[in-house]
Structures are given as C-alpha cells and as structure tokens.
C-alpha cells in the first residue's frame, strides 16, 4: 500500500499492483505506475534514505498539486523487504527517453557488516516507454496468504476513491484522478470485486454537503440520482468543506427482482467494502469504514428503525473532505484523524445528515399510508358520487327520496350480511377444529383397541376350565364394547377423507348408501331401524360428497336426539331416507320421533336453537348452509304420517346442464 501511495504522490494517474505466484514462496509483486518517475537525485537522496522521504508532508505535488499521503520511507522499506531482491525501474518526467535501473539484493545487505559496504549500481539506459516507476519485488520470502491478498484488494479499491465516477459533476479540480488496480491471476474473484460497483442498484442515496462557510445542505436522492427531498441544515458546522454520500441498499429479495445485480452479489460486495470511508483530497484515510469501524454509529442508530436506517452491512458511503487548510490532522500512526473539534464537527454533520434522511423517510412512509387510506375513502366517495349522478339523471326529483331510502336500506343490509358472515366464519372455524381433532384422536385410538384384543385373548388362556364360561361372558362384554368403539371412531376418519371434499360430480344414490353403511353401528346402538329407498337412479349433482354426507349426518343425528326426548316413546325407532328424481334430485329424511313440537318450523335452522340441554343448535344451521352451497333448497314438514318430521332437499341435477 505504501508503494501505491508513493505512486499517488508521484502524480500517477494509474497504478497497477501485480501479484505473481504469491500464494507460494518465491513469487513476485510488481507495482507499476505512470507517475513522474525519479531522477537520479530523487533516488539517491530521497527514495533510498529512510526517514528522509523527499516529501515535505504538506507541500503539494509538483505537477497535479496533490496533498501527499506517503510516509517517511519506513513503510516503503518494509514493503521492499518482502522479497529477497528488488528492482526499481524509473523513467523521470524531467528526462524523457531515459530509464534508471536500481537493483537491491537484500541478501548482500544481510551478509554485510555495515550497510555502506554494499555497493548500489544505478544503470542508465534509453527507453521508449513513458514516464513512471516500476518496483519489482522478487523472490518473496513468504507466500502471500489469502487473507492478506483480500485486504490488499480491499485497500487498493478503497484507496483511490471508487466513488469518483459518480462524482463526475463535482469536478473543477485539475486532477484527473488516480486509479489503483490489482492484477492477480490467482485472485481473479478479488479482482472482479475490486472492479465491480453496484451503486446503481442502491435504493436511496443520502447526501450532505458542507461549503467553505460551514453551511450544510441535506438531500435524499433516488437510485437514478434524482433529488427526492432536500433541505438546508439548521446550523453551521466548524468543519472543512466536505461531501458526504451514502448509498443505502434495502437487501430484500423482492426489491432485487428488477435490478441488474443479484442480492447475494450486492450483499457480498457490501460486506467486503461497505461502511463510510473518508477521503481526504481523493485518497482514503484509514481506518474509517474499515471492518468493524462504525465511526458514525450507523448500526446503533439502525436498531431504532431497521427498515429506514442504513447499517454498515446495507450501505456504503464516503466523506470527501478537502484538507487544504490543515484543519484535520492525521494521527502519527496514520490511522484516522486526531479527535479534534473539526473532526467532531465533521462527524456531527454526517450524523445530522443521516438523522434528517431518516426523518424524511419516516414521514414519507406515513404519508404513503395516509394516501392509501384516503384513496379508499376517495374511491367510495367516487362510487357514491357517480351513483348520485346516475340517479339525478334517471330518477325524477319526486321519487328521489324513496330511491335514496331504498339504497340506504341495501347498504345497511349489506353491512349486516358481512357481519353475519364473519360470525358464521368463526362458528365454522371452531367446528372444523373440533372435527379435525376428533379425527386425530380416532386415529390414535386404533392401536390401544388392538392391544386390548390381544391381551384379552392371553388372559382367557390363563383361566381354568371350570371358570371359562363366566370369563367368556365377561370378556365378551369387553370385546363388544371394543367393537362399538371401533365402529364409532371410524366415522370421523371416513367423513374427513380428502377425496370427499373434492368438488365435482356426486352420484346421489351411492353417496347416500355409503353414508348409511358408515353410520350403521350408531343406528344399531340407538336401536334405530333405517329404511333406505333409493330411486334417483343415475342422478348426480355438482358438489362434494362431504357436503351431502354432512347434510344427511346432521339430519340423522337430529332424529336420534328426538328419539331420546322425554316425550318420545315409540315401539320401533325408524328413520327413512329416500331419494327420487322429478326433474330435481330429491333427498328425503324422515323419522317417527313425534315431529317438531317445541319450535316454530321457521326457527329450527337458526344457530343455537336446540331442544337438547347439551345440544349446540348448529346441526340444522349447517344443513341449511350446506344445501345452499349446493345451490339447493330444503323444506320441512313438522309432522308426517310416518310419525315425525320430514326434511326434503331439492338439488339441481348435473344432467340438466347438458340437456
């Protein structure tokens, strides 16, 4: 890095660092620039003398007037000592066509007792190459580890203000700029990282500028660089003229779908070089923005509003400061500025810029939400205005009041319906949960029942012959109860079969037959005789088996409950299910449980209406809703000759669609 800084100080426009076979011992590093080169005097009196760097730190460079950044020779020396041999080729600007070659063989120095013993040979030769300096560090003493190469790449990239391209407008300076490059076949991926930049993919750019008088201006720009918001600082800052730019990336996959880069690319890039870097007159001041250096407390502030605030991993920034007046003083170890008042003010200004931007974005988000709300009520208002207009045209004034009232009633009914639907949805959700839970339990009960059987058989074998009869009788009871459980628990499992919920053609007669078979054990338990008379032949309806089964099951359950009423006393409990086709598909369910007595027929479908103290009153509500889902109708006869209530369901046949 020191050699690259030297190139900058030599007014180079371009400096290339080549790494050759550096991952093993004996490789080479070549630093090539197109700077002013060195005359013989420069070499002997400056370059080779430690601690007497020819640069007088504050004097601008000869040709481009750059503020010098290189150090006093120590860094340079240690860099050149990386290899066993160093060759310096330099072509001074002042002497075109001349190349000076200096070769340093460190092994000779190491062998010598005093440095003066080693003779340095300076060779002059003609050349056609332009001015500049090449330093070849050869026969490296140690391999260049990956981490070091990584760091070098990062530093090279950052050293020479990678933000410059975007700052083309900030010109005015005679300095055409400085570019440092890394050429390393072994580290091609690094190279690409150094060369690529993703500023165009930033979501926002936050900008703060401070002029010579300490007057600041904040602005928020979009990704195209257009100013969205701008505002003047409310106070002045005792800091040198500066420009603060921060590109904020919202690292969200959704936002990257229409960008040229991918989220992982940008994430890696930001991880590598993210942070707010400081450039003094175009050259980086470490360690601001380096790994772990969050000198503006971005991450701390971000905690407060992660969505709207940039962090070190989601942004990259630069502070370009001109230090011609020397207000900012770099520390002697050249890592950062002394914490002077000027520096504090610089930092304060940057933080104020970020605060301002965060406020702007919060209020922007709020106004977005408000706009959305306004938009909705505007749409309603618009619809109502257009209705008014139509009415004004078509309805005579004398009738207007009547129409308005009618519309008002429709709206109110709509609201009411929405409310009812919402309540029903809650009801069905809770019932669905109960249904699914019972199916899960049913599934789990199978295994225990099977174990009961096996173990009972084993116990029976242990019983002596003379007690066998008694034991068989008792075990018989267990077996019967087990079978009852078995048949009962299979019902929810079968009802909830996925295939039954599929919408499509449902053949009525097989569907009814299937359900009757399924609930036969339940009917047996309650001593109910089921009569089935299926005459719908091949009629089918459009719907789902589950809906039709649900209707039938609820009606049958209803009948079973009716049989157990205090007032019901019949010789034989009977339920009759029949189907027919008379243009519509008809399903009839009737019983002989005495009919509907306690309620008006119009009430029975309402939720919560029940004659059972422990009933839910939802059964018939579900029946009504299911029939309506099947686009059918349901009628009730409270008492028929059969001896009880009769429900008749009319469904639209599927066949009719094709006739």
């Amino acid at each position: 890095m020191e050699l690259v800084k030297n190139a900058y100080d030599a007014d180079a426009l371009r400096c290339t660092v080549k790494l050759e076979r550096t991952s093993v011992e004996g490789g080479a590093i070549r630093v090539v620039d197109d700077g002013s080169g060195m005359t013989e005097a420069d070499l002997v009196e400056g370059f080779l003398v430690v601690g007497r760097s020819r640069k007088a730190a504050t004097a601008p460079t000869r040709r481009l007037g750059r503020i010098q950044v290189g150090d006093k020779g120590l860094g340079r020396l240690s860099a050149m000592r990386l290899g066993r041999k160093v060759v310096v080729l330099t072509r001074p600007f002042e002497e075109p066509g001349i190349e000076l070659r200096l070769e340093l063989n460190w092994d000779k120095f190491d062998e010598a007792i005093a440095v003066e013993e080693v003779e340095l040979s300076l060779v002059r030769s003609p050349t056609t190459k332009g001015h500049g300096t090449e330093i070849h560090i050869e026969n490296l003493r140690a391999p260049f580890p990956r981490g070091t190469a990584d760091k070098l790449a990062r530093n090279l990239l950052l050293l020479s203000d990678p933000f410059r391209e975007i700052h083309a407008d900030s010109g005015g300076s005679s300095d055409p700029g400085f570019t440092a490059e890394l050429e390393a076949n072994e580290f091609e991926d690094l190279q690409s990282k150094v060369e690529t930049s993703y500023f165009r993919d930033a979501d926002f750019r936050i900008r703060g500028t401070l002029n010579d008088h300490g007057e600041g201006q904040f602005s928020l720009l979009d990704w195209k660089g257009e100013v969205l918001y701008s505002s003047n600082a409310t106070r002045t800052y005792e800091a040198p003229k500066l420009e603060f730019d921060l590109w904020h990336f919202v690292l969200d996959a959704g936002r990257f779908s229409n960008k040229s880069s991918t989220l992982p690319e940008v994430r890696a890039w930001l991880k590598h070089i993210g942070g707010v870097h400081v450039y003094q007159d175009g050259i980086r001041v470490p360690a601001y923005g380096g790994p772990g250096n969050d000198w503006l407390d971005l991450n701390l502030l971000r905690v407060r509003s992660p969505e709207l605030r940039p962090g070190t991993n989601t942004s990259i920034g630069r502070v370009g400061v001109s230090n011609t007046a020397g207000a900012l003083v770099q520390k002697t170890d050249r890592v950062g500025y002394l914490e002077s008042e000027a520096f504090h003010e610089l930092r304060r200004f940057c933080i104020d810029t970020l605060d301002w931007a965060a406020k702007v974005r919060v209020s922007e988000r709020e106004s977005g939400r408000r706009a959305e709300r306004d938009d909705k009520s505007k749409r309603t208002a618009k619809a109502s205005a257009s209705l008014d207009k139509v009415l004004a045209k078509t309805v005579p004034d004398t009738q207007r009041k009547v129409v308005d009232n009618a519309i008002e009633r429709v709206l109110r009914a709509n609201e009411q319906e929405t409310k009812v639907l919402r309540e029903e949805l809650q009801l069905y959700r809770s019932l669905a949960t109960a249904g699914m839970t019972s199916a899960v339990f049913a599934h789990e009960i199978g295994r225990p029942l099977e174990l009961l059987d096996t173990n009972l058989g084993m116990i029976l074998k242990m019983i002596p012959e003379d007690r066998r009869k008694d034991a068989d009788r008792r075990v018989g009871r267990i077996t019967r109860q087990k079978e009852r459980l078995n048949s009962f628990i299979s019902i929810p499992l079968k009802l909830l079969a996925k295939s039954k919920r599929r919408r499509g053609r449902v053949d009525i007669d097989p569907c009814v037959r299937g359900l009757v078979d399924l609930i036969a054990p339940v009917l047996g338990h309650f001593n109910v005789e089921m009569e089935v008379s299926l005459n719908a032949s091949t009629s089918a309806v459009s719907g789902s088996e589950a809906l039709i089964e649900g209707v039938l099951l609820n009606l049958v359950t209803n009948s079973i409950n009716a049989f157990q009423r205090r007032s019901t006393d019949v010789e034989t409990r009977r339920i009759r299910i029949s189907t027919a086709y008379d243009g519509d598909v008809l399903i009839m369910v009737e019983d002989n449980a005495g009919g509907i007595k306690d309620f008006d027929v119009s009430e029975i479908f309402l939720p919560g209406v029940t004659s059972q103290p422990d009933g839910t009153g939802f059964g018939l509500t579900i029946v009504r809703d299911s029939v309506s889902d099947l686009s059918g109708k349901i009628d009730v006869d409270p008492l028929t000759e059969f001896g009880g209530a009769k429900f008749t369901i009319k469904l639209f046949p599927m066949r009719a669609l094709f006739e």
């Binding site: 309650f526 157990q564 019901t568 006393d569």
Partner: protein
C-alpha cells in the same frame, strides 16, 4: 336369599348392567337386573323395583339411548327415595349432566361417577342414604344456612362462591334453585342466603335448598 343383600340394578346398556351385576355377585350380593323396556311408564319401573324389596338400588342416569326408557335415572332415584327405598345414581358425569344433576341434588343423597364407583363402597353408600331417609343425614349431607356471594349472573345460571365452604372456588348454580323473588332481583355482588350442605367435600355433592334471601350489595359488611 338374604334380603339385606339384595341390590337392584337399573341400566339400559346390557353390558353395563351385567358388569355391575357380576361385580355385586362376586361380593356375595344378590344382584337383580331390572330389564326394560319401560318407555315412558316410570311407575311400571318403580313398581317392579318395589316388588323385589331390595335393600339398595343402583340406577344409571342415562336410560334413553337404547329405548330402555324415555326418562332419566335422576327421576327414578328421586321417586325411590320418596318411597324411602335406598337408591343411588350412577353417572358418567359428563359436563352437561353436572348442572342438571345439581338441580336434584338435595333429593338424591348419593351420586357417583362410573370412574370412582367401587362395589366395596356399597354398604357405606347405602348407610348415607338410609340416614337421610330417616331424616338424620350424615355431616356431609346436613344443610346449613349460609351466605353465598354472587360473582356473575348469566343466562340460566349464576356463578357463586360459598366462603364458608371454599372461599376460592366459584361454580354455576341453575337459577331454578333460587327462590322466585331472588331469581328476579339477583345481581353480581349480591350475597344470597340459603341452605347448603357445606360438610360436602366435592362440588358435585353440594345441594341447595331455600335460597330465598338476598343481602343487598350496597352496605354489605363483607
């Protein structure tokens, strides 16, 4: 056969009925199942039981499922106790039954859930019933006039706490158990006066009689 050990068993479920009969016979009781069906003729059932002159009757609460009867066990036991016939009620103690049973609790000395019922307890249970029939109830069945705090008034029920029984336990009381005047005016925060067997250990054993006085919430010293 020893009449003192004759036990009648009323249950609509044959397997359930036979199980208890077998259990009793294993303990040397003379167990007699009462076979139905009776439809809605409760008198016929009572007559049949009385005709056997058993020392104890065990009756299941649910009798309707298999067409055994169209009435419930609670009615049967009430009638038998009125006739001074020792009887107990057996239930599966499902929640909906619990509050309904509380209504009849003062007239039914012993109610047992199937899960806690043990044949070995029969003599002790019969003893409890016998005391009650002779109007010398055991401590857990003796009514005391106590204060009850009304926590909430709901449809058909009020939630109460009986501090002298358990100050930390609230439970539902059917409004039918309240005197007509109380039923009309009761509100949360009120205290009620009534007779409760506060010697009972479990909520299900509590009965309520003559809940006929309201101590107004306002100015209440408690």
């Amino acid at each position: 056969m020893n009449l003192a050990r004759r036990v009648a068993v009323i249950d609509d479920e044959p397997d359930g009925r036979d199980t208890i009969v077998d259990q009793l016979q294993d303990c040397d009781y003379d167990a007699i199942p009462i076979l139905g069906p009776f439809g809605n003729r409760i008198d016929k059932l009572i007559d049949e039981v009385e005709g056997l002159d058993p020392s104890f009757v065990i009756c299941d609460q649910r009798l309707t499922a298999k067409q055994y009867a169209s009435f419930n066990g609670v009615e049967v036991v009430k009638r038998l106790i009125e006739l001074k016939r020792p009887a107990m009620l057996l239930t599966t103690y499902q929640d909906p039954d619990r509050v309904a049973l509380r209504l009849a609790r003062s007239q039914i000395p012993v109610i047992r859930g199937r899960d806690t019922f043990r044949i070995e307890d029969i003599d002790a249970l019969r003893e409890v019933v016998q005391h009650e029939i002779e109007d010398t109830p055991v401590a857990s069945r003796k009514p005391h006039r106590v204060l009850m705090r009304v926590e909430a008034v709901r449809e058909g029920y009020i939630d109460i706490v009986i501090p002298s029984w358990n100050p930390n336990h609230a439970f539902a009381l059917p409004v039918q158990l309240l005197g007509p005047a109380v039923r009309r005016s009761v509100k949360a925060g009120d205290y009620l006066l009534g007779e409760v067997n506060i010697g009972a250990t479990h909520e299900d054993e509590l009965f309520f009689d003559n809940v006929d006085e309201v101590v107004e919430a306002a100015g209440n010293p408690f």
